[in-house]
Amino acid sequence: MSDKKKGKQPSRREFIQKGMRMTLGASLAGVAGFAALKVSADDYVWQLDPFKCVYCGRCADYCVVTPSAVKCVHAFDLCGYCDLCGGYLKPDANARSTAAENQLCPTAAIQRKFVEDPYFEYQIDEELCIGCAKCVEGCTSFGNGSLHLQVRHDLCVNCNECSIARVCPADAFERVPASSPYKIKGDFATGSDKNKPA
């Protein structure tokens, strides 16, 4: 091999290196630019659509946080303040009382408070709620459906992919802008934002 050729080696290598560097840089810019067409300055968080939820109970079991970051919330505007609350009492309850054996909630997280005859107010103690949706099922089947589940953002760690979303049989989970992070029943109507980017 001639000396001349040897002298050429490094510069040829450098040339290839530089060319490849340019190519990689350009591809990265291409991918990033293409993705940037969809970029939003806002952050996105997970929320579930209570109108899609079928109260399967997986919200309690699949959240990476224990107990689940999904809790039951109460849309008081929709509540009938019933004495015979389908979300509070077991269908076969033998008395309309606060006795634990009559309550649907496994952790007794629903507080029943007398307002005036014959009305009762129901509040969720989120410290106790595990997001099992038992009350939601009861309230939706026998009452107004004012009890429903929501991801609580003081507890949710905002996983890149929510592990409940992956298993939710009703596909109720979606990414929503962090500036409007709730879908509380009564505040929004079903279907109205189905076609908007999730």
Binding site: L24, L28, V39, D42, D43, E116, G143, R166, P169, P177
Partner: protein, 417 residues
């Protein structure tokens, strides 16, 4: 009487069957005692500026780590940077969002027209790659929390034979391909689901995930940074960037004196020894040409294999799985314990629609399988090509693709200026 009860019955049945949002079954009472209704609280998510602060910390940590590795040549400095990154991105931010997972967000942004990409995810994906294109994998050395936690436990690294390293080193390519395939078909985020350390960062996870994380750390005592070297999909992209980076950390500040002291210092076995080209140049070039010639064949074989595997691969998509189950066992639709089937029936979607949707996803997997397989074929072909080629090397040098820029070797080099 009978008629009245009948009317009442139909009326109540009608009321109950009404969709709940159309009308309340039990109207809200008018309270007489001045009762004020509580409001439903809506605790806010983490403030947006804090998300931007994360991006700022990422950039700052990258700058500092790069400075320590490339300029200051301080192993200690980069180690403490990585400890900080572990505390901040790992334990404080609980591992989300990270650059590795952001691959999937970017993929989804490209393939899913309804997905909106948060700026932070894009920044976490792009910034480390750009820095690596200029200075090598300083991200791995000082900023990645996953790398940091493994680096800190690498007490007794043993040497792994080169050929085994090469074979295991192909897993990340497969993982990257699969992660992109599953994100692009909107099936799931594989990387996030199987992140072994996230449970440790959060002090909370399923038992299996904690076990996996513990296992990785245990193995990591002897096989340094097992996740980085043999799994990390982002490492593949970083490796490409680093191979052709403008600058890169060097073992010695000036000239290598061939003392071999650094050779054993690298826990990742990526310091390459000096080699002389053997045999005649012509036959070597010819051998390389044959390998090059075989690459399209590898791509073809890989693609074919990938496309043939699209059936099993698509089973991990819940829609496809449900459709298959219901087609094979229609009676499952009545099974009250099969939640997914129950939800499907409740949703009112027809079987035809479900099957059609599943078919579409399947065909995406078919083409995805071709691409993934072809890509793996290319990887195999190029790995063989690289194994067969020796380029003349006079000094001890880090293999730029796989060097994690940790800087350990710098301390071992006796040449100090």
């Amino acid at each position: 009487m009978n008629r009245i009860s009948k009317i009442l019955f139909t009326l109540s049945a009608f009321l109950i069957s009404l969709p709940v949002w159309a009308q309340q079954r039990f109207p809200k009472p008018e309270f007489e005692t001045g009762y004020t209704q509580p409001s439903t609280t809506q605790p806010l998510p983490r403030a947006l500026f804090l998300e931007y602060l994360d991006v700022f910390v990422l950039v700052a940590a990258l700058v500092i780590a790069t400075w320590f590795v490339v300029k200051k040549r301080s192993r200690l400095g980069v180690m403490w940077t990585s400890v900080f990154a572990l505390l901040y991105f790992g334990f404080f931010r609980e591992g989300c969002i990270c650059a590795i997972g952001a691959i999937q967000n970017v993929t989804l942004a490209i393939f899913d027209p309804t997905y909106v990409l948060p700026f932070t995810a894009l920044a976490f994906f792009v910034i480390p790659l750009v820095v690596t294109l200029f200075y090598g994998r300083t991200f791995c050395a000082g900023v990645c929390p996953l790398g940091a936690i493994q680096d800190l436990v690498a007490f007794r690294p043993i040497e792994i034979p080169k050929w085994l390293q090469k074979i295991l080193g192909m897993i990340p390519y497969l993982y990257l391909g699969l992660a992109i395939l599953y994100a692009a078909t909107r099936s799931e985020f594989l990387i996030c689901r199987y992140d072994p350390f996230i449970g440790i960062f959060r002090f909370d996870a399923e038992f299996q995930m904690l076990l996996l994380g513990g296992l990785f750390l245990l193995v990591g005592i002897f096989i340094a940074r097992p996740y980085c070297r043999f799994f990390c999909p982002y490492g593949v992209l970083l490796g490409w960037m680093s191979t052709f980076s403008k600058k890169h950390m060097t073992i010695t500040p000036s000239n290598c004196i061939q003392c071999k002291l650094c050779a054993n210092s690298c826990p990742y076995g990526v310091i390459e020894e000096p080699v002389e080209e053997q045999g005649s140049r012509r036959s070597n070039v010819q051998r390389l040409m044959t390998y090059l010639f075989f690459i399209p064949l590898w791509i073809g074989i890989g693609g074919l294999a990938g496309s043939m595997l699209h059936g099993p691969l698509s089973k991990f998509n819940t829609k496809v799985y449900l459709a298959e189950q219901l087609v094979e066992n229609p009676e499952l639709k009545q099974d009250p314990d099969y939640l997914d089937a129950r939800a499907f029936v409740q949703s009112g979607e027809s079987m035809d629609e479900l099957v059609k949707e599943a078919r579409e996803i399947r065909s995406q997997f078919y083409w995805g399988g071709w691409i993934l397989g072809g890509f793996m074929g290319l990887v195999v072909g190029l790995t063989l090509l690289k194994l067969a080629s020796h380029r003349n090397r006079h000094d001890y040098e880090p293999d730029k693709t796989n060097c994690l820029s940790c800087g350990r070797c710098m301390d071992y080099c006796p040449v100090k200026n």
